[in-house]
C-alpha cells in the first residue's frame, strides 16, 4: 500500500545501472489521483529509464513500487503486467507495429477476449479516431500514416485504456499546436476522472499549462518534488541544470552577425523531388540563418531533403557560389559542403549499434574517401573533442549510440555534421526532444557558426525558437512555398498570419 495519502503510485529508492552508466540512483517518485505530474530533467537525466522501470521494460536493480489497492510492493516484469495493473504508457519513441492496421495497434495486447472482432474493433477505432480528429482510418496500415498521426494513434490507444496511471513520455514532440491542445483537453478530462498522469516534456510552456506538480531529476538523482505554483520557470530551469541559465531571451546579437561579403552560397531554382512538393526557388547567403516554417506536413522537410538530394530530385537546378552544380545524391551534396541533420533521428540519423565515435566520424569519413580511413588516434581525437564541445552524456566513446538518451543521440548526429565543416548546414528539427539548456546551447551554436560564415537553415516546430535564431523565414503551406518574411516582419503574429494564408500571396 502506498504510504502517502491518495497516492495511486509510489516508487521508492529506485536504482538502475547500465554498463558504465548509473541511470537511476535512489529515485523516489509519487503520483496522486487526479493530478498531472511533470517529470523534468535534462537529456539523459533518467526520465525514460524511470518510466521503463515502472512499466517493466527494464528490470530494476533495487527499489520498490507500490500501487493503490495492493498491500505489498507490486512486481512488474513486463509492459503486459503494467497494463494489467492499470498503467498505460506512451513511450518516447513511437512503439507501435508498422505492419498492423491502425485499429489493431489500438487494441492489440489488451482485453480478455481471445478473438478479434474486426468489425466491432474497426468501428470502435473509427469512432475514437474521429472524436480525437485524427486523420486516419481504422483499417489503414499504420506505416502509411505520418509520424504525427502515429503518435496520435499511440496516444489514442493509451487514453482509451481504462487506466489508473497514464504515462506520456514526450508525446508532443512531433505534434502541432492544435493537436497538442486536443491532447491537453484529453488529459484534463482524465484528471477530472481521477487518473494520475505522468507527463514528460521539454516544453516549459506546456508544463505550466497543464501540470499540477513537478518532479525534477538530474543525473539519475532526484532533485525534488514541487507544486507548480512554488516553482517559477527560472527556478525550474535552474533545478534541472543545476545552475542558473544565463539570458535565454535575447541571444540574437546584431553585432555578432557575419560581416563578410554578401554572396549567395546556395541557390536553387524550380527544385522538385519525388516526395511530392511543388517546384520551389530558394537561396541562402553566406553567414545567414534562415528557416522554413509552416504547419506540420506542409513540406518543410521535403524542401530541405530535396536540396540535399535525400529524396530523388526530379527537376530544377542548384547553384553553388553562382556556379551550377549537379547534386543527385547525398554524397554530391556533402561534397558541395552541404550537411543535413534529418528530422527522423531513429530512422535516418543514428546507426544504432555503432559506437558514438563511429557515429561522429561517419560523414567526415565518407567524405574523406573509401581508401583513407581515419587512424584510431584521429577518430578518438574527433570524438572526444565533440563529446566535450556538445557535452554529450555517454559512458565512453565506445558506447553504442542506441543506448544514449534521445537528446544525446541528437547531439551526436549534430557533431557528425559539424565535423564535416560544412558551408551550409541544414538542421531539420534539431531541438526536438532536446532539453531546454541544450536547446539554448544549440541555438547559440548555430548563431556562432553563422557569425563565422556558415550558412544555416533551421527548421523547428516552435515559432519562437525560429524567431530567435533566423533572420529570414520561408513560409510553406500545402507543400508549396507561399511567402518569405524577414527583418521587421519577423513577429509571432505575422508568421501565424502568413502560415494561415491571411497575409501575402
Amino acid at each position: 500500500m502506498p504510504v502517502k495519502e491518495n497516492a495511486v503510485l509510489e516508487m521508492k529508492n529506485i536504482h538502475k545501472s547500465f554498463p558504465g552508466v548509473r541511470a537511476l540512483d535512489g529515485v523516489d517518485f509519487s503520483l496522486c489521483e487526479g493530478e498531472i505530474h511533470a517529470l523534468m530533467g535534462e537529456n539523459g537525466a533518467g526520465k525514460s529509464t524511470l518510466i521503463k522501470v515502472l512499466t517493466g521494460v527494464y528490470e530494476k536493480d533495487e527499489g520498490d513500487i507500490f500501487l493503490k489497492g495492493h498491500d505489498k510492493a507490486v512486481a512488474i516484469r513486463s509492459p503486459q503486467d503494467a497494463q494489467n495493473l492499470g498503467i498505460s504508457t506512451v513511450y518516447q519513441e513511437i512503439t507501435l507495429c508498422p505492419n498492423l492496421t491502425v485499429a489493431e495497434n489500438m487494441y492489440i495486447g489488451r482485453g480478455k477476449s481471445k478473438l478479434t472482432k474486426w468489425r466491432k474493433m474497426n468501428a470502435d477505432a473509427d469512432r475514437i479516431l474521429e472524436n480525437l480528429g485524427i486523420p486516419a482510418k481504422a483499417n489503414q496500415q499504420l506505416s502509411d500514416c505520418s509520424i504525427a498521426v502515429q503518435q496520435m494513434v499511440a496516444i489514442a490507444r493509451a487514453v482509451d485504456m481504462d487506466c489508473k496511471v497514464l504515462i506520456l513520455d514526450e508525446p508532443t514532440s512531433s505534434l502541432d499546436e492544435s493537436e497538442v491542445e486536443k491532447l491537453f483537453g484529453l488529459m484534463k478530462d482524465l484528471r477530472a476522472r481521477g487518473v494520475g498522469i505522468i507527463f514528460v516534456t521539454h516544453f516549459l510552456d506546456q508544463v505550466y499549462e497543464v501540470c499540477d506538480k513537478i518532479t525534477v531529476l538530474r543525473d539519475g538523482r532526484l532533485v525534488g518534488e514541487y507544486v507548480i505554483e512554488d516553482l517559477p520557470r527560472v527556478k525550474l530551469v535552474a533545478k534541472m541544470l543545476g545552475k542558473e541559465l544565463d539570458d535565454m531571451e535575447e541571444i540574437k546579437d546584431e553585432n555578432q552577425m557575419y560581416k563578410g561579403p554578401d554572396e549567395r552560397v546556395i541557390e536553387v531554382e524550380g527544385l522538385q523531388s519525388d516526395a511530392g512538393i511543388k517546384p520551389f526557388d530558394f537561396y541562402i547567403k553566406k553567414g545567414e540563418v534562415n528557416g522554413f516554417t509552416g504547419l506540420l506536413g506542409s513540406g518543410r522537410s521535403e524542401c530541405v531533403r530535396a536540396i540535399f538530394a535525400a529524396d530523388k530530385v526530379v527537376a530544377g537546378t542548384v547553384k553553388k557560389n553562382g556556379k551550377a552544380v549537379k547534386i543527385t545524391k547525398p554524397l554530391d551534396a556533402m561534397k558541395n559542403g552541404i550537411a543535413y541533420l534529418p528530422e527522423d533521428r531513429k530512422r535516418d540519423g543514428i546507426v544504432g549499434d555503432l559506437s558514438v565515435r563511429d557515429n561522429i566520424i561517419l560523414a567526415a569519413q565518407v567524405l574523406r574517401g573509401f581508401f583513407r580511413p581515419f587512424s584510431k588516434a584521429e577518430a578518438n581525437k574527433f570524438a572526444d573533442e565533440y563529446i566535450k564541445l556538445l557535452e554529450i552524456k555517454t559512458a565512453s566513446a565506445d558506447t553504442p549510440i542506441k543506448s544514449l538518451s534521445g537528446g544525446n543521440q541528437q547531439k551526436v548526429i549534430l557533431a557528425r555534421w559539424l565535423l564535416t565543416h560544412p558551408e551550409y548546414l541544414i538542421l531539420d528539427e534539431p531541438t526536438r526532444g532536446i532539453d531546454i539548456g541544450t536547446k539554448i546551447e544549440i541555438q547559440k551554436l548555430v548563431l556562432k557558426l553563422a557569425s563565422e560564415g556558415m550558412s544555416v537553415t533551421f527548421i523547428s516546430s516552435e515559432t519562437d525558437e525560429m524567431l530567435r535564431t533566423c533572420s529570414r523565414l520561408v513560409v510553406m503551406r500545402d507543400r508549396k512555398v507561399v511567402g518569405e518574411l524577414s527583418k521587421d516582419e519577423l513577429t509571432q503574429s505575422k508568421v501565424m498570419e502568413t502560415i494561415a494564408g491571411g497575409g501575402m500571396e
Binding site: S78, T95, C97, N99, Q140
Partner: protein
C-alpha cells in the same frame, strides 16, 4: 486546411487500402492462376485432367502442412530449417515402430506428434527464452534430426503393417471429376487422406491467424518485437508458441509424408525446408516478419510444384535444364513480387 488534410488522408487511405499481406497474396494468386491456365492452354497433356491438380495436392500435402508451420514462424520473424529433418525422423521412427516393433497406427501417430512437439519445445525454448538466433537453433535441429534418422535406422524400407497400408491406400474420390483414360476406363479423381488433413490445417490456421488474439500477436511480434513488447504482448511466449506450432506441424507433416510414401528413409524430405521457405515466400510471407498469409502459403506450395510440373512436362532433354528452368521461374516470380511491392511504396 484541417479539412483538406483529412480528405487527403482519406483518399490516401482508400488508395492504399490493401495491406502488404493482402497485396502479396493477390500477386501470388494471380500469378498462379495465370501460370496454371497457361499450362492448360499451351502444354495441355495432363494439365487438362483434374487429377493432375489433385496429384499436386497429394504429393504436396506434407509440404503444405510444414510450409504453414514455416509461415507461422516467419511471420513472427523467425525461421525453422529443421522441418525437413523432422519429417524424415518422423517417417523413420514411425516406420521402425510399425514394422519392427509391431506397433499400431494410432500410437505411431502419437509418436509423430511427440517428435514434432519435442523439437518445437526445445527449439522454441532456445529461441524465445534464451534468445538464440533461430537460424542456428534450427540448423542444429536439422543436423540433429538428420543424424538421428540414420541412427534410428540406416536403410530405407517399406512399411507392411496392414492397417497402415490400408490407410495409405485410402483414396477419397472427388465426385464428378474423373476422366476416361486411354484404356477407355473411367478413372475418378481422388485425393489422399493427407490432403484432407492439409486442407484442415490451412483452414484452421488461416482462421486462427485472422481472428484470434494469439494469431494477431504473431504479426505484431514479427512487425516490431520491441514495440510488441511495449504494447503489452508476451513476446517470448508468442515466439515460443510459433516455434512450437511449427515443430508440431512438422510432426504432422511428417506423418502425412509418411502416409504418402509409406516408407522410412534417411533421405526422405531432403531439401524440404528450402521448399517450405520458398513456398511461404512465394505466398507472400516475408522473412523479415510481420507479413504473411496462410492461404498465400497454400497457393505458394501449389505454384512451386506447378512450376516443377510444367518443367517436367515440357520434356527438357538435358538434366541441367530442370534446375535452371525452375530457378529461372522462381527468379521471375520474385522479381515481379519485388517490383510490385516497390511500386506500392
Amino acid at each position: 486546411m484541417a479539412k483538406k488534410n483529412t480528405a487527403a488522408g482519406n483518399a490516401a487511405a482508400g488508395r492504399k487500402k490493401l495491406t502488404e499481406s493482402n497485396l502479396l497474396l493477390l500477386i501470388t494468386v494471380v500469378i498462379f492462376v495465370v501460370m496454371y491456365a497457361g499450362a492448360m492452354v499451351f502444354l495441355q497433356k495432363g494439365f487438362l485432367k483434374p487429377q493432375t491438380f489433385f496429384n499436386i495436392l497429394n504429393a504436396n500435402a506434407a509440404l503444405i502442412i510444414t510450409a504453414c508451420g514455416m509461415s507461422l514462424v516467419m511471420i513472427t520473424g523467425g525461421i525453422d530449417i529443421s522441418v525437413g529433418g523432422v519429417v524424415a525422423l518422423v517417417s523413420m521412427c514411425c516406420a521402425v515402430y510399425l514394422d519392427y516393433m509391431g506397433g499400431n497406427v494410432f500410437v505411431s501417430l502419437l509418436i509423430a506428434l511427440g517428435i514434432g512437439l519435442a523439437f518445437g519445445v526445445v527449439q522454441g525454448y532456445l529461441v524465445a527464452y534464451l534468445d538464440i538466433q533461430p537460424f542456428i537453433v534450427s540448423l542444429a535441429g536439422m543436423f540433429f534430426a538428420r543424424g538421428m534418422t540414420t541412427i534410428v535406422h540406416t536403410a530405407p524400407f517399406n512399411v507392411e503393417n496392414e492397417t497402415f497400408v490400408a490407410l495409405k491406400n485410402t483414396r477419397i474420390y472427388v465426385p464428378g471429376m474423373g476422366t476416361v483414360n486411354k484404356l477407355g476406363k473411367y478413372v475418378p479423381a481422388y485425393v489422399e487422406i493427407g490432403v484432407i488433413i492439409a486442407l484442415l490445417v490451412v483452414v484452421v490456421l488461416f482462421c486462427a491467424l485472422k481472428w484470434t488474439k494469439a494469431g494477431r500477436n504473431f504479426y505484431a511480434v514479427g512487425g516490431n518485437r520491441q514495440s510488441a513488447l511495449m504494447l503489452g504482448i508476451n513476446v517470448k511466449r508468442t515466439r515460443f508458441l510459433a516455434q512450437l506450432l511449427c515443430g508440431v506441424l512438422a510432426g504432422i507433416g511428417g506423418y502425412v509424408y509418411f502416409l504418402h510414401v509409406g516408407s522410412g528413409s534417411a533421405s526422405h524430405a531432403s531439401g524440404m525446408e528450402m521448399n517450405a521457405i520458398a513456398s511461404s515466400i512465394i505466398g507472400g510471407t516475408l522473412l523479415t516478419g510481420g507479413v504473411g498469409n496462410i492461404f498465400g502459403t497454400f497457393v505458394g506450395v501449389l505454384s512451386l510444384s506447378t512450376i516443377q510440373n510444367i518443367v517436367s512436362s515440357i520434356g527438357l532433354d538435358q538434366a541441367w535444364w530442370t534446375g535452371i528452368t525452375v530457378a529461372a521461374m522462381l527468379c521471375i516470380f520474385l522479381i515481379i513480387q519485388s517490383v510490385i511491392l516497390r511500386r506500392r511504396q
